[in-house]
C-alpha cells in the first residue's frame, strides 16, 4: 500500500462528497415535481412523452399498482431485448455481421440487463451488433437504472407520507429519472470519455498492419455513449468482453477515476435526496456516514491483500504486488479501489479480473455483495436495501430498550418487520441453495476455470453476483445451458423478490400516522444508530455467509500460504 494509492481513494471520496448535496437536492426537486434549471428544455419533452404514452401524470398509485407498473414495464423491456438479440442479423448497424444469439444466451443477457445486473456471459465485441448495443443494452442501462431510482423514491415517499395510501406515479418517476438525471450527466460524461480516447463511431472494425507485420482488428462502435450510462446507472455490462479493463472502454487513469465517480455519484447523492424528502437531512447523512465507513473498511482489506501479493509467485523469485489480471495504467491502487467500488454499489463493471485476485482480495468483492450492496449501492436499489436494514436496526434497538420501535415517528410493527426481514432473507436463500445444487451436479462443474477451493469460489461468486444484481464475475466460470438458465432465473428473483417486500413496506408505512419526536424517541441519525446499523449489517452478513466463504476464499488463503496448488 502506498500513500499515493490512498490519496486516489480519498480524492475520489471527496469528489463524490462534493456532489452529494447539489445532486441529491436536485433529485429531490425533480421527484417532487418542482421546476428546475433543466425544465425549460426538458419539460416539453417530458410532456410529449406523457401525451404519446397515454400517461396521466397526476395519477397517484397505491403500492400494488406501482408494483404492477414496474413489473409490466420490466417484462416488456425483457421481451424487447430478447427479440433484438435473436433478430439482430436482419437489423441495421451490424457491420461485423454478427449472427443471432442462441436462445439461452439471449435469455440470460436480456434478464441480465432488465434487472440492472449486467452479468456477462456474452462477449460484446464478437457477438452483439451496434444496434443491439444501443437500442437494447444501453437503453436498458438507462431504464433499469431509472426504475431502481423510482423504486427508491417510492419507498422514501412511503416513509415521508402519513395516512396516505399512495406512493407516486411510476411512469412519471421513470421518465423524470431518465430525462433530468441520467441523460444530462451522460451527455457531458460521454464527451469527457471520448476526449480520453473511448471510441464513438459506427464503422466496421479497422484492420491495422503492425510494424512487425501482424494484422490486428481495431474494435470500435458507439462505445462512449454506452460506457457513461453503464457506470452512472451502476449497470456494468461491457461493450466488450474485458469490460472497463479494456483500453477501449477505459483508456486512461483519468477515465478510470471519472468512471469510478460516475458509479458512486447517484447512489451517494440519493442519501441526501432521502433526507430532503423526509424533511430531516440528518437522516440521510447518517446513512452516508455508515456507508462510507463500510466502504473504507472493505478497501483497506482488498488493497492490503493485493499489495501483499501471491506467495506462490514470490517463490519463483518475482517480488511485488499481485498484477495478474490487472492493467499497468491503473496499477494496484486503482484496481483494488475499483473492485471495492463496483461491488459496494451494484455496478459490476470491472477494471481488473477478480478471478485472479488473491484469495482474501477476492473475498472482499464477494462480501460486499453478500452484505446486500448497501454500501452506496446500486442507483436506487442501494438505498432501498439500506432502508430495509434501517427498519431492522430500529426494531432490534427497540427490543433492546423494551419499547415499541419507531422510525421517523411511525410505529414499526409486525407487518413492517416481516417485510424487512423477508427482503433480507431472500438473499441467502437464492445464493446458497443454487450454489449447493451446482456443486452436486456435473453440468455445474463442467465449465469451471479453476479447481479446488477457487472453483467453489467461482460458483459462489456467480450466484452471489447474479442474485445481488451486481454482474461482476469470477470470469473463469464459463457459460453453459445450466448456468445460462439458473443465473438468469436468479437475477430475476434477486431483483423482484426484493422489490415486492420493499413496495409493500412502503405502502404500509405511507398509511401510518406519525407521532412527534419526544424525549424517549430513539433517533435514527445519532452516532449510536450509525454504529448499530453497521453492526446489524455485519452480523447478519457474517452469520449467513461465513460458512460458505470459509469453504472458498478462506480455505484457499490458508492453502496458498502453505504452497498448495490445484490442477
Amino acid at each position: 500500500m502506498t500513500l499515493i494509492g490512498w490519496i486516489q481513494a480519498v480524492v475520489l471520496f471527496l469528489a463524490v462528497l462534493v456532489f452529494v448535496k447539489p445532486l441529491g437536492g436536485f433529485m429531490a426537486r425533480v421527484f417532487n415535481g418542482e421546476r428546475n434549471f433543466l425544465s425549460p428544455i426538458l419539460r416539453p419533452v417530458e410532456r410529449a412523452i406523457y401525451r404519446l404514452g397515454g400517461i396521466n401524470e397526476d395519477e397517484e398509485m397505491a403500492w400494488y399498482t406501482y408494483l404492477f407498473a414496474v413489473l409490466a414495464f420490466s417484462f416488456v423491456g425483457l421481451a424487447w431485448l430478447y427479440l433484438l438479440l435473436r433478430t439482430q442479423q436482419w437489423l441495421p448497424l451490424n457491420p461485423q455481421r454478427f449472427a443471432a444469439m442462441s436462445p439461452d444466451l439471449a435469455w440470460n443477457t436480456a434478464v441480465s440487463f432488465m434487472t440492472n445486473t449486467n452479468w456477462q456471459f456474452y462477449s460484446g465485441e464478437s457477438t452483439v451488433s451496434y444496434f443491439s448495443q444501443m437500442a437494447g443494452l444501453a437503453w436498458h442501462n438507462f431504464v433499469s437504472a431509472a426504475a431502481g431510482i423510482a423504486l427508491a423514491i417510492a419507498l422514501i415517499r412511503g416513509i415521508a407520507r402519513t395516512t396516505l395510501k399512495t406512493l407516486g406515479n411510476f411512469w412519471v418517476d421513470l421518465t423524470r429519472a431518465c430525462l433530468y438525471i441520467l441523460l444530462p450527466i451522460s451527455i457531458v460524461g460521454c464527451l469527457i470519455l471520448v476526449m480520453q480516447g473511448v471510441p464513438q463511431n459506427f464503422h466496421s472494425y479497422e484492420t491495422a498492419k503492425s510494424v512487425q507485420g501482424f494484422s490486428q482488428q481495431i474494435t470500435g462502435g458507439p462505445m462512449a455513449s454506452q460506457e457513461v450510462i453503464k457506470e452512472l446507472g451502476t449497470n456494468g455490462g461491457g461493450f466488450v468482453n474485458a469490460n472497463s479493463a479494456s483500453p477501449n472502454e477505459n483508456p486512461t487513469p483519468f477515465s478510470d477515476f471519472f468512471e469510478l465517480w460516475l458509479i458512486l455519484a447517484i447512489g451517494a447523492a440519493l442519501t441526501y435526496t432521502y433526507g430532503k424528502m423526509v424533511k430531516d437531512t440528518r437522516q440521510g447523512w447518517a446513512l452516508f456516514i455508515a456507508m462510507s465507513i463500510l466502504f473504507f473498511g472493505g478497501l483497506l482489506v482488498v488493497y492490503w491483500a493485493e499489495a501483499a501479493g501471491n506467495p506462490a509467485i514470490h517463490q519463483l523469485g518475482i517480488a511485488g504486488a499481485n498484477m495478474e489480471g490487472k492493467e499497468v495504467r491503473f496499477g494496484l491502487a486503482a484496481s483494488t479501489l475499483w473492485a471495492n467500488t463496483t461491488t459496494a454499489t451494484s455496478c459490476g463493471a470491472v477494471n481488473a479480473m477478480h478471478d485472479s485476485f488473491t484469495a482474501l482480495g477476492g473475498l472482499i468483492p464477494l462480501v460486499n455483495m453478500q452484505l446486500g450492496e448497501i454500501i452506496f449501492g446500486g442507483v436506487g436499489s442501494g438505498l432501498y436495501a439500506k432502508l430495509m436494514f434501517v427498519v431492522l436496526t430500529v426494531f432490534i434497538a427497540g427490543l433492546m430498550v423494551g419499547r415499541t420501535p419507531e422510525f421517523l415517528g411511525k410505529k414499526i410493527e409486525r407487518r413492517e418487520v416481516t417485510f424487512a426481514i423477508l427482503s433480507i432473507l431472500i438473499t441467502p436463500l437464492l445464493v446458497l441453495v443454487p450454489t449447493a445444487v451446482a456443486v452436486l451436479i456435473p453440468s455445474g462443474l463442467a465449465t469451471l476455470g479453476n479447481t479446488g477451493p477457487h472453483g467453489f469460489s467461482e460458483i459462489l461468486y456467480a450466484f452471489t453476483s447474479t442474485n445481488a444484481n451486481n454482474g461482476s464475475a469470477f470470469a473463469g466460470l464459463g457459460p453453459n445451458l445450466f448456468y445460462n438458465l439458473t443465473t438468469g432465473a436468479n437475477m430475476l428473483f434477486g431483483r423482484f423478490a426484493e422489490v415486492i417486500p420493499v413496495l409493500a413496506l412502503a405502502g404500509a408505512l405511507a398509511g401510518k400516522k406519525a407521532a412527534p419526536e419526544s424525549a424517549g424517541t430513539f433517533t435514527t441519525y445519532s452516532p449510536i444508530f450509525v454504529g448499530l446499523l453497521i453492526g446489524t449489517i455485519l452480523i447478519v452478513g457474517a452469520l449467513t455467509f461465513l460458512p460458505a466463504d470459509a469453504l472458498g476464499p478462506i480455505v484457499e488463503h490458508l492453502l496458498n500460504l502453505k504452497g498448495s496448488t490445484f490442477q
Partner: protein
C-alpha cells in the same frame, strides 16, 4: 394490468427512440466533430497505412522491439475481438507453470538484464490488450533491444525516459510506457 402493458409498450418505444437512438446518434455527431481522432479509435498511420491504435496493445516478438505483457486475448494474444484475462486464481497450477515458463523465456531473451524481471512482465493483463508496460519493464529489455539494433544502451534508455508517462495529475494510475509508441519511436531513431 392490460392498461399497464399498453403504457409500457408505448413508453418502451418512446424511450428507445430518445435514449437508444437519438442520444447515441447525437453524441456520435458531436464526438466526430470535436474529437475525431479519439472517436475513431486513436488510429496511428505510417506512410498512410494504419499500423496500430494508440490505446490498444500489440503483439511484438522480435528482439529489436520492446515486448508487451503476456496476453490471454485470442489464440496468439493481443486480439481486440477476444479480450480478457487468464482468470487463473492464486492457487492455480497452470498459473504457476505458465509464469515459470514466462520467467525462463524472459531470462533467456534478456541475458544482459540485471535482476529478476519485474512483476508486470511475468503476469497477464486483465484485457489482454494492455498497451503499457512499467518503466522497469522497459529498462529490463533495453540491453536486448540496443544489441539487436546496434545502438548504445544509454541511447535506448534515454528514449524510454522520453516516452515514460507519469501519474495523471501526479496521483492517478501508475507510471507507464506505451509499447507501440516506444517501438515506433525506435524505428525513427537514426
Amino acid at each position: 394490468m392490460i392498461k399497464h402493458l399498453g403504457i409500457s409498450l408505448r413508453l418502451t418505444i418512446l424511450t428507445v427512440i430518445v435514449l437508444g437512438l437519438m442520444y447515441p446518434f447525437a453524441m456520435t455527431g458531436i464526438a466526430q466533430l470535436i474529437f475525431p481522432k479519439q472517436a475513431n479509435g486513436s488510429l496511428v498511420s505510417v506512410n498512410g497505412n494504419i499500423v496500430a491504435s494508440d490505446i490498444i496493445g500489440q503483439l511484438w516478438t522480435k528482439p529489436q522491439y520492446f515486448h508487451g505483457r503476456p496476453s490471454a486475448a485470442g489464440k496468439n494474444g493481443y486480439d481486440p475481438t477476444s479480450t480478457g484475462g487468464t482468470n487463473l486464481g492464486p492457487t492455480s497450477k497452470k498459473l504457476i507453470s505458465t509464469t515459470k515458463t514466462t520467467i525462463a523465456q524472459l531470462r533467456k531473451e534478456n541475458p544482459d538484464a540485471s535482476g529478476p524481471p519485474p512483476m508486470d512482465l511475468v503476469t497477464s493483463s486483465a484485457s489482454g490488450i494492455d498497451p503499457d508496460i512499467s518503466p522497469e519493464g522497459a529498462y529490463y529489455q533495453a540491453a536486448r533491444v540496443a544489441k539487436a539494433r546496434g545502438l548504445a544502451v544509454a541511447r535506448v534508455n534515454t528514449l524510454i525516459a522520453q516516452h515514460t508517462k507519469g501519474r495523471t495529475l501526479g496521483f492517478l494510475g501508475e507510471p507507464r510506457v506505451n509499447v507501440t509508441e516506444l517501438n515506433l519511436a525506435l524505428q525513427n531513431l537514426r
